[in-house]
Symmetry: C2
């Protein structure tokens, strides 16, 4: 369970101060499928980075499964992220001069998975996103949408109980988008928790719940019948 209480995030100071989040509270139960929407600059990625323990709030509390994330040190945070969370970044954040396969294997290596098992799971994840023919290519030898799909495969390879995906279909054509949504739908049916940021209504339609941010605040949080 993700429990966010009155979280704020402030950048800069003086007249360059930016209030990215102005007091956000939400609870995500295990197995929920949440879409976060909102205008460009409304605070979506900032909120997701806090949910994924990649950033800390300026004020407020964040608990994952009862643990206060603010009380963990860097090493404990890294273990928590590696064991429980898969993260698809808005800018992909792939390691440039490393093959797609090595990029997907990396979180498995951090988690202590042996080489043979790592290779098998990484190849399965790349095959799932339609990139079986591109495993040996580096990111700069791949198209934008192919890089995005490598980033998705990397987040899935560790079979995380929580998947956080920031605009996972921004660079994908309709067919690839439907493939990715199919993967997320199956993941949700198997009981995993999913939080995804999107600006596309037809992507948000797959979620069970839609949260809307305006200028760093939640202005809507409602359940919907998922597509």
């Amino acid at each position: 369970v993700l429990d966010v209480r009155q979280v704020t995030k402030v950048y800069g100071q003086g007249d360059a101060t930016v209030h990215a989040l102005r007091g956000v509270s939400l609870t995500v139960e295990r197995g929920d499928y949440v879409a976060i929407m909102g205008a460009s600059g409304s605070g979506k990625s900032t909120l997701m980075n806090i949910l994924g323990c990649l950033d800390i709030p300026s004020t407020g509390r964040y608990h994952i499964d009862g643990t206060d994330v603010g009380r963990l040190d860097e090493r404990q945070l890294a273990i928590l992220r590696n064991q429980k969370i898969g993260f698809v970044f808005q800018a992909f954040n792939l390691i440039p001069r490393m093959s797609a396969l090595a990029n997907v294997e990396l979180p498995l290596a951090y988690g202590g998975v042996k080489a043979g098992e790592r290779r098998r799971r990484a190849l399965a994840a790349l095959d799932l996103v339609g990139l079986a023919e591109r495993t040996r290519h580096d990111p700069n030898e791949l198209s934008g949408g192919q890089q995005q799909r490598v980033a998705i495969a990397r987040a899935l390879a560790t079979a995380p109980s929580l998947l956080l995906a920031d605009e996972p279909t921004g660079n994908l054509d309709t067919a690839s988008t439907l493939d990715v949504l199919g993967i997320l739908d199956r993941l949700s049916l198997s009981g995993r928790t999913i939080v995804l940021i999107t600006h596309e209504d037809d992507v948000a339609a797959h979620a069970k719940r839609v949260i809307r941010l305006v200028d760093g605040q939640i202005i809507e949080d409602r359940r919907q019948a998922a597509v």
Copy 2:
């Protein structure tokens, strides 16, 4: 006029060979507004990089306004790009540790525009894309969609006669997308030539012509009534 004749692009060799473009021919007259669509990996960005003189074909010919681009040296290509072409990259390609304003001023500086005029035009371009409050921020202090809009402002600041935009709305919410499409529509009405890559049908609906790529080949090239 952009005149592409039987262009191919091949990467790699042996069994790692990738035929990104397999013989593409098209002509774009001055003032045309073209949308290029196709699946992830179908060759859209590769074609656009050739149109923008950022990459050379493996075989075939490409003429801009009667000049054979293949016969120009690096210096002449750089001058041609700076004087005639505005490019919005799929990955934005902003300079990381430089403010949004400095990023937008850069092509104007290369073109020899004086400091005062540069500052005025760059601020006007950033204001046009809704980022008047963010001119002093570096890219890593901006959201994904804000970075994308800085990249659009940079391509517009030089008032290019040809605008090439690769997925310019991939990270933008509906309102920001409509703002950007409004800018492109006005640019087209003023006689500029626009070629844009998109996977979103409602973005392509603004173009006067749709070209579809499948696996490195043009399978469709038709006029439509623009929205």
